[in-house]
Symmetry: C2
Subunit: 242 residues, 2 copies
């Protein structure tokens, strides 16, 4: 509890935490470059775009605070959210010249970002970035499995568990609780459902005692149990090295 509160005062902590989680061997050069980068921040308001599909990717960003979503909009207005972007996540990571964004990224809450240090700063930073990419990709595949083969109840549980895990890594969740800025409609757009149905399934989940969600406060009462019940398996992309 005190640990959580202490962190809340340093807006850069979650991002730093995630990078260390990606590569515990992050070296001095990397940390120094990150600290410098984090002194120049920019904040984007809700609904504004951080990156636009079809446009050139001009900079690589590190999210310090707030939630965003990677979105694709169909011609007739249907909308699909690919994944959520949380503090510590990188945006526009790519290793070639003249890249074009293959999706739009839109701020859900106010989002604070800074330019991400170039990978050339240190091999340890480069490794962190590479692992970040692999993790993102694994999350995309988790999303595909959710949409393709899980029913509504399982989709919701699986997504909430993923968010809990990711927020835990950066110190923004503890004891199954975190601040949830998503509306039911946004959840629906991520899960390929309607907001009406998300609402109904949330009622059921509440009555089943699986979660408590009032206002922005969300608590999963028994994450491990729920995880087992829906047969979830967490993302892992690196072998533990001796």
């Amino acid at each position: 509890m005190t640990a959580l509160r202490a962190q809340a005062h340093d807006p850069a902590a979650p991002a730093m935490r995630r990078l260390f989680a990606l590569n515990p061997a992050l070296d001095e050069a990397a940390v120094a470059a990150l600290r410098v980068a984090m002194t120049r921040t920019r904040t984007v308001r809700p609904h504004r775009e951080l990156m636009t599909e079809g446009r050139d990717i001009v900079e690589m960003l590190l999210v310090l605070d707030g939630w965003a979503a990677r979105v694709r909009q169909l011609a007739d207005g249907r909308r699909q959210i690919m994944n959520f972007i949380l503090p510590g996540d990188l945006i526009g990571l790519c290793d070639y010249d003249y890249p074009v964004a293959s999706s739009t990224i839109v701020a859900i809450t106010a989002v604070t970002v800074c330019a991400a240090p170039d990978r050339s700063v240190s091999p340890s930073l480069e490794r962190a970035y590479a692992i970040s990419r692999a993790t993102d990709e694994a999350h995309l595949m988790a999303q595909i499995t959710r949409l393709g083969r899980l029913n509504a109840h399982e989709r919701i549980a699986d997504l909430l568990l993923e968010l809990l895990e990711r927020l835990s890594v950066v110190g923004l969740a503890a004891g199954g609780c975190f601040q949830m800025p998503l509306t039911q409609e946004v959840v629906a757009d991520a899960l390929g459902l309607t907001s009406v149905h998300v609402n109904r399934m949330l009622q059921l989940a509440r009555r089943a005692g699986e979660l408590v969600w009032s206002g922005r406060d969300l608590m999963l009462t028994a994450p491990d149990e729920l995880s087992g019940a829906i047969g979830r398996n967490a993302v892992q992309v690196v072998r533990a090295v001796a």
Copy 2:
């Protein structure tokens, strides 16, 4: 037609074509390394795994011939195919040490692969690999949109159009036609549907004159029109450079 036939005799042609499509500026060093690599091939039988979820990734492969699928299997037997892997595609591309596979790759037809030359061979090859990764990622996002927001008819059309486009790049499709090795059940596992429903929708598509599919021969009668009708937009990850 003669071009197609000529290619059929060189099993390495599709892969080489795709790499040139990814980076037209592929240099001599890259081509030489590829040619050497392609002399040592390995063939995997249908249903065998080319890579296994949770296991270390030990080598990077280039597919020369055949189709494979990136698959995730749930505890209760449900199966989701993330995407299909076609000639010219790379498997196990990643830029850090001790990577672990986040999904299983299983051969659908007999699949011939060779070890992919190391990226250090040439910057132009490295760029081709990087663009290949970005393209793969874009395809994963296309798959998410399909599963989340398209109905059964649209999903099938969109997937077939994607396959047509990708096979066209490597010279394995022309005039809307290609060899289709997938069973309806495999298509269903990719599209989050049941094989029964895929079958029904295919009947409709046939009766609507959208496609002809008998045996392995598949033809989309009016790809551009179909593409427009379902509001499809193709994958693009690099800006055209002057």
